[in-house]
């Protein structure tokens, strides 16, 4: 396989407190160009912390994040260096992922400007070059560029936020639970649109979600996180069809399916704890 575009080595994150809470406990993985990696786990497993580490919004206590062969610098008080705008993120809450007081056209333009600064004028990929073209690409009306975020639904806002992030021509797009606040019937669709656009850009994607049923449809590889560690990793379909780690099994068994069978999901006794050894498929 080619060189990974983003790789994480033994990242550890502690949140201050007495005693400090270990949110991420030695996590390593790679993201390659053109692949969708799904990171799944339940609340408190450290998956959103990983998103902040990967974008430089949070400095890990130990470990490194390598982006294109160099260590990613955490965001300080100053601005971000133009060459590290190649890692972008779509956030969870469609209500706050866009500035309510700016037209969406100029917010998408921010992304285009970032791409111009990083890649220079020589960049001539077949990417939309105006906010209007981007809106068309995500299936919206170019006229919408003049409107403000409040006139769009949650799903539309997440599409716009995706366009804004992708307009920056990132090498990696991170989605931090980008669909979990949306209506159930739009979740799978928006996840698909986001991942397809990202791959079409020639970028890699890390899709973070607690919803395994959706993630397995769009992800090539899965990382299952539990208590700050990755406990199982491998091809998405393989893990979905035949989970090996006891935690993955419990997670899959607990998902209720909309099949009308009135089948109760498998209950694990409260307080059950699982081994932290990793299974690589």
């Amino acid at each position: 396989m080619s060189e990974p575009v983003l790789s994480v080595h033994d990242v550890v994150v502690d949140y201050p407190g007495r005693p400090p809470t270990r949110a991420v406990d030695g996590v390593s993985f790679d993201i390659h160009t053109g692949e969708v990696v799904g990171l799944v786990g339940e609340s408190g497993c450290g998956k959103s912390t990983m998103a902040r580490v990967l974008t430089g919004l949070l400095k890990p206590n130990a470990g490194t994040v390598i982006y294109r062969g160099e260590e990613l610098r955490p965001l300080g008080l100053g601005g971000r260096a133009p060459d590290s705008t190649g890692v972008q993120m779509v956030f969870q809450d469609p209500g706050s992922s866009l500035n309510p007081r700016r037209r969406i056209g100029s917010q998408i333009q921010d992304g285009l400007d970032a791409a111009k600064r990083r890649l220079g004028a020589t960049d001539a990929k077949d990417r939309p070059q105006t906010p209007q073209e981007w809106l068309e690409r995500i299936g919206m009306d170019p006229e919408d560029a003049q409107r403000y975020p409040r006139s769009f639904s949650g799903g539309q806002r997440q599409r716009i936020a995706t366009a804004r992030a992708l307009a920056a021509a990132p090498d990696v797009l991170i989605g931090d639970e980008p669909i979990s606040s949306l209506d159930a019937s739009t979740q799978a669709l928006i996840a698909y649109v986001m991942s397809t656009l990202t791959i079409a850009q020639g970028a890699g994607m890390l899709f973070i979600s607690h919803d395994l049923a959706v993630v397995r449809l769009i992800a090539d590889r899965l990382l299952v996180m539990y208590k700050g560690r990755i406990v199982e990793r491998g091809p998405a379909q393989k893990i979905w069809a035949d989970p090996q780690h006891p935690y993955t099994k419990a997670l899959l068994g607990a998902i209720p399916l909309p099949d009308g069978a009135q089948r109760m999901p498998t209950v694990t006794p409260p307080g059950t704890s699982y081994p932290l050894d990793e299974i690589v498929r």
């Binding site: 799903g155 209506d183 019937s185 607690h210 449809l217 909309p258 009308g260 009135q262 498998t266």
Partner: protein, 282 residues
């Protein structure tokens, strides 16, 4: 315990200064005693407002018409202190987020016993005894020591169990559960769903279970009503709704949902869905 609920042509408008916004446009729903009636729908469909209106918690600016029969009482005609007697005693309610529905600074014991003593007019000792039994029933152990604890000492799933214990404390005929598992992790959700099913089967409880999550709905509901734009578009047995939906809206809802009979199973299915513009979003 009867618990049969019959909602007839329930309409609800929200009146602001000069605007009238219709929220419910004629909801008809019959909930049989001793069953779990699911109420499904996307955000803005009016499912939550229906639940709130049954227990008399609709906003002050709401204007309602229609009938809500619990046994032989029309809940819509009842006001003031007689409404209080119904709320919490004949009808219990469980909300989505137990971290805000439980009072953070009152002990579990006082949250459980206060309304029991108010409704049932029993002594403190009797109420404590009943409270311990109620906690035991929902799987919160520790007996009397649990009563002196506070919500923050429990996990999210345990808090929701406590919220259920509070809703059940006065032996209500009907319990309204509004997205009771939405804030929980799936592994915790499985336990709470199993508890609800167990309570229904063992106590003969009647539950109006409101959720947008059709997976959860399929697991817990005996019958399912699908709401859209303030009205029930389809009602039927759980099996019929999921395997043989009659209404176009139910069909499109299910076809966009991974795991349903007609839902996407592969990436290519999603590509097809995206092409035909499914998802009900415009």
């Amino acid at each position: 315990m009867s618990g049969e609920l019959n909602i007839k042509d329930l309409k609800l408008d929200i009146k602001t200064h000069d605007e009238v916004t219709p929220i419910l446009r004629g909801v008809n729903l019959r909930v049989e005693a001793g069953t779990v009636q699911g109420l499904a729908g996307e955000s803005g469909s009016g499912k939550t407002m229906t639940g709130l209106t049954v227990i008399g918690l609709e906003p002050a600016t709401a204007v309602t018409t229609g009938e809500i029969w619990l046994g032989d009482t029309d809940l819509l005609t009842i006001t003031g202190s007689s409404l209080n007697a119904i709320r919490g005693q004949r009808v219990g309610m469980v909300f989505q987020d137990p971290s805000t529905s439980l009072h953070p600074q009152l002990s579990i014991g006082s949250q459980l016993t206060d309304h029991m003593r108010y409704h049932l007019k029993i002594s403190k000792a009797q109420a404590r005894e009943k409270a311990i039994a109620a906690l035991d029933r929902v799987g919160i152990t520790g007996g009397s020591s649990a009563l002196s604890r506070y919500p923050h000492e429990y996990s999210g799933g345990q808090r929701q169990r406590i919220a259920i214990a509070i809703a059940l404390a006065c032996d209500p005929e009907l319990v309204i559960m509004d997205e009771p598992t939405t804030a929980l992790d799936v592994t915790v959700q499985a336990g709470v769903l199993a508890l609800v099913r167990d309570l229904v089967d063992s106590l003969g409880l009647t539950v109006l279970f409101i959720t947008h999550d059709l997976g959860v709905m399929s697991a817990i509901a005996d019958r399912v009503a699908v709401m859209r734009r303030g009205a029930v578009v389809e009602e039927g047995s759980c099996e019929q709704i999921f395997t043989d939906p009659q209404h176009d809206y139910t069909r499109s809802l299910l076809s966009s949902l991974p795991g349903s009979a007609t839902g996407p199973r592969t990436r290519d299915d999603l590509a097809h869905l995206a092409e035909i513009g499914a998802g009900g979003e415009s």
